[in-house]
């Protein structure tokens, strides 16, 4: 509403109505208007986008703060941040995939496979940490390549292809680990021992990735192309932009980010468990959807997905601390996800201002 008022004021002196201008005049006025418009528009958009999520998060914190004795402590917050670092990174990759109207169901299994490779390279082959990490990242990239290539080459729905990869990667994980958990211990503890403010290295990396991801999505050519592809892939193709390499890049990116998450997860648990990551893909999707990214593509925000992960994380930890059992946790988490999507509908309607497309 406020936004509209501001715009009306600006348009009262609309340059549309005035046709004969000299160039300098035009540039000066246009520039001024742009600055005003941009600041207001940007600020208001920022607020409406993140206010809802911020409020929800604050609400949860307050509720749990009152109900559980030790919730509102630094220790708890640190724990939530550190434990969800891997999910945050995966959520970034998932956001990108959802924006091009795709989906990646294999992230949980790929993370397990990458983590298993890391474990095996460290423990069984006794390779130095950097080499093992490189191998782990390579696994993620290769899986992403495979996903992307099959989707693009045969024009298949990414749902099916990544579903297949989910099974393949999980099976490969069992093969690699001999169906046993690999205890790593020493070599990887280097990574967990460098906290800043009690926040683990993993969380720091996650935040950096979130920021970079948001910047790439909203400010770069690559990000613009992705949003365009998610909006209308055919129109992008007919504009002379080949969507194939871009889509492939997104799947590779998702795989790469998944393997980074694998490194962090494996380091945190100091072991490679072939069952790790089960259900992680759904958690990531839930977080991204809570954050407001559309499953249809063309719309989304990495920072919102970050908040989505936080909300789910706070919810989980909070429920634990007030003594809720696992079943209760799951039911409540499910309800929150659905409620978030319903609320997102209303938020979207407010943003659009109720305008309808003309002929």
């Amino acid at each position: 509403m406020l936004r509209r008022v501001v715009f009306e004021k600006i348009r009262a002196n609309s340059w549309q109505k005035q046709k004969t201008w000299c160039l300098g005049d035009f540039v000066a006025r246009k520039g001024m208007r742009m600055i005003i418009e941009k600041r207001t528009a940007g600020l208001l958009a920022f607020i409406t986008d993140y206010l809802g999520m911020g409020l929800a998060l604050a609400l949860l914190l307050v509720i749990f703060g009152f109900r559980a004795k030790h919730f509102f402590t630094l220790t708890t917050f640190r724990m939530i941040a550190n434990q969800n670092a891997d999910t945050m990174i995966i959520a970034v990759g998932m956001t990108f995939v959802l924006i091009i109207a795709g989906i990646d169901l294999s992230v949980g299994s790929v993370m397990a496979l990458a983590g298993a490779v890391l474990g095996v390279f460290l423990v069984r082959f006794n390779l130095p940490l950097p080499a093992a990490i490189a191998a782990c990242l390579a696994v993620g990239i290769v899986c992403g390549l495979a996903n992307g290539f099959v989707v693009i080459r045969w024009k298949l729905p990414s749902f099916i292809v990544t579903l297949g990869m989910l099974e393949i990667a999980r099976g490969a994980t069992y093969l690699v680990t001999d169906s046993r958990t690999i205890y790593i211990g020493g070599p990887v503890e280097v990574m967990t021992r460098a906290p800043v403010l009690g926040l683990s290295l993993g969380f720091i990396i996650a935040v950096v990735i979130v920021v970079m991801g948001q910047v790439v999505l909203s400010r770069t050519v690559f990000g613009r192309y992705l949003i365009a592809i998610g909006t209308n892939e055919e129109a992008v193709r007919l504009s002379g932009i080949d969507p194939a390499p871009l889509k492939l890049g997104v799947f590779v990116l998702c795989g790469f980010l998944t393997s980074i998450a694998a490194v962090i997860h494996t380091a945190r648990l100091s072991s490679a468990n072939p069952n790790m990551g089960r259900g992680l893909e759904l958690e990531a999707i839930a977080a991204v959807v809570i954050g407001g990214t559309s499953l249809m593509g063309g719309r989304g925000s990495v920072v919102s997905s970050f908040f989505g992960v936080l909300i789910i994380g706070v919810l989980g930890t909070g429920l634990d601390q007030i003594g809720a059992g696992e079943p209760t946790k799951r039911i409540i988490t499910g309800c929150v996800i659905v409620a978030a999507v319903i609320l997102d509908q209303y938020r979207h309607r407010i943003r659009k201002g109720g305008g309808t497309a003309k002929n």
Partner: protein
């Protein structure tokens, strides 16, 4: 024409409607009598679709304090809460955008609201029989009611939509651009149905850009401009120019359309292009500075040819030469074509030419993002100023370059597409039906733009189903028939008869509404 009866069926007074940023209707008065065809004409954005939607219950009019802008049906207050309410009162609308379910059959689509059934199972015999009856009336007699709708051509789909609208009892029928994709034959059948409805006392609101049709079928016409009623008159009093003048507010006859440029060297040369049975051995060349028109019936292969030239579909064989070069260029996808300076403005701008949910500036910059960005980083300020420049130059009516393109009217959307390719500065521009669904005023602006492009030395190709349009704007006209390029006419050689007979030459007589190619006649 049957004389209109005097009883007023629907009366709307003082209707106002505003959307963010624009006043779509202000103080509109409109009335409809029993058994009359009352046409609504006006430029895009003039408000006719909005008024129709309000009458059909799809939108609600704004209510002002104290002053009720309202409608009455048969003397009783009429305030439909939605489309279902309106239909319960007998007001039906056939919209411009097709609302058919692609995978259901023709019969199922026609009777979708009331499938004949026994104990919950659909009675297909009854369904198909009833459907066949209606289909015969609108000229779809040759189509099987059990065929899935997505296998039909656009013209036939539109007829199915109309048949669905006609099949249900109503007091008022609103037709929004019903003839956009129809052949002359189908239009005649539609008009016959409309006249029958008139005899039954049904009131019909007819919205169209085709003024000649309006004069033919309507009893009265209301002209809207900028959301206000300019005049409501009987069609016997008005001529084509009168209506256009009221719509646009100025005389358009005097506009200088004839493009008098001389052509320069060859910009594009296509040799032996073949694609399945849609494009058969097509050869032509276009020079810089000329406007080259492509005429032909629907389904004659013009769009397919240009899509092959652009790389949107891969041709089976043929060579494309650019700028008089000796070596053919390899065009396998649109990316190759764009890099070689070819632009294609597609027939269906909403589905294929625009990103509706994104801002105007994002659409304009799409084909040349590298120009407003450095090392992959987009400079939004620069993007806005570039987009703003084009919006000004082409007089695109939008609230700002931030506005979503989906909210603009058809003519303005088309201008955004043109701006996009102008920014790219392609040497060869292919326009496929550039003025379809665009009002008269905007059409002339686009013709002028075409002329300016040619003057700047671009090679312009225009595909159009409007012969008058082609003859006004082009230097040369090629005629395609059943996938072959059968004739090319220069300015002093052509005539409507010659072009039409060339267009029919590869077919057995009859309309081009069907997708199937008809048998060749020997000549």
């Amino acid at each position: 024409m049957t004389p209109a009866r005097n009883k007023t069926l629907l009366k709307a007074s003082g209707i106002n409607k505003s959307f963010p940023g624009v006043q779509a209707l202000s103080g509109v008065d409109f009335d409809l009598r029993e058994g009359e065809v009352h046409a609504l004409v006006g430029e895009n954005g003039a408000g006719k679709s909005t008024l129709a939607r309000i009458i059909a219950g799809v939108e609600t009019a704004d209510s002002r304090q104290g002053q009720a802008g309202g409608m009455s049906l048969d003397g009783q207050a009429y305030r439909p809460g939605g489309r279902a309410d309106a239909e319960a009162d007998g007001v039906r609308v056939v919209m411009q955008e097709l609302h058919l379910v692609a995978n259901l059959t023709v019969a199922e689509n026609i009777f979708i609201e009331k499938l004949p059934s026994r104990f919950g199972f659909v009675d297909y015999e009854k369904l198909n029989r009833a459907a066949r009856e209606i289909m015969k009336k609108v000229g779809l007699g040759a189509v099987e009611p059990g065929v899935a709708v997505r296998y039909l051509g656009v013209g036939q789909q539109q007829m199915v939509e109309i048949a669905a609208g006609l099949s249900r009892r109503c007091r008022i029928l609103v037709l929004d651009e019903p003839t956009a994709s129809l052949t002359d034959n189908e239009i005649e059948l539609l008009f016959a149905q409309i006249r029958k409805l008139k005899d039954d006392g049904v009131g019909i609101i007819y919205i169209s850009h085709r003024i000649e049709e309006v004069i033919d079928i309507a009893d009265r016409v209301t002209v809207l401009r900028d959301g206000k009623v300019i005049a409501t008159r009987s069609t016997s009093e008005l001529g084509l120019n009168d209506i256009i003048r009221m719509m646009v507010g100025r005389d358009l006859e005097s506009e200088q359309l004839r493009h008098a440029g001389e052509a320069g060297e060859v910009a594009l040369s296509v040799v032996g292009l073949t694609l399945g049975d849609k494009v058969k051995d097509v050869t032509f060349e276009v020079r810089r500075g000329e406007i080259f028109g492509f005429a032909g019936l629907m389904g004659s292969g013009r769009t397919e040819t240009m899509r092959a030239v652009f790389g949107a579909d891969r041709a089976d064989s043929g060579e494309i030469y650019l700028g008089g070069g000796k070596e053919p260029v390899k065009i396998r996808k649109p990316r190759d074509a764009v890099r070689n300076g070819i632009a294609l403005l597609t027939e269906d701008r909403k589905e294929q030419g625009l990103l509706l949910r994104l801002a105007v500036r994002a659409n304009i910059s799409l084909v040349r993002l590298c120009d407003v960005s450095r090392f992959g980083w987009i400079n939004t300020f620069r993007e806005r100023s570039v987009a703003g420049r084009y919006v000004d130059a082409l007089s695109v009516r939008c609230s700002s370059t931030e506005q979503r393109v989906g909210e603009l009217s058809g003519g303005n959307q088309q201008k955004v597409v043109i701006a996009k390719w102008l920014y790219r500065d392609s040497a060869v521009l292919i326009f496929d039906e550039p003025t379809r669904g665009i009002d008269v005023g905007a059409k002339f602006e686009i013709y002028r733009m075409l002329g300016e492009l040619a003057e700047k030395g671009k090679a312009v190709i225009v595909i159009s189903s409007d012969l008058k349009e082609l003859m006004a704007v082009c230097n040369r006209i090629a005629v395609m028939s059943a996938g072959r390029l059968v004739a090319t006419f220069g300015r002093d050689q052509w005539s409507e008869e010659k072009i039409m007979s060339a267009a029919f030459s590869e077919y057995v007589g009859g309309s081009g509404g069907s997708e199937r190619s008809l048998r060749k006649i020997s000549h």
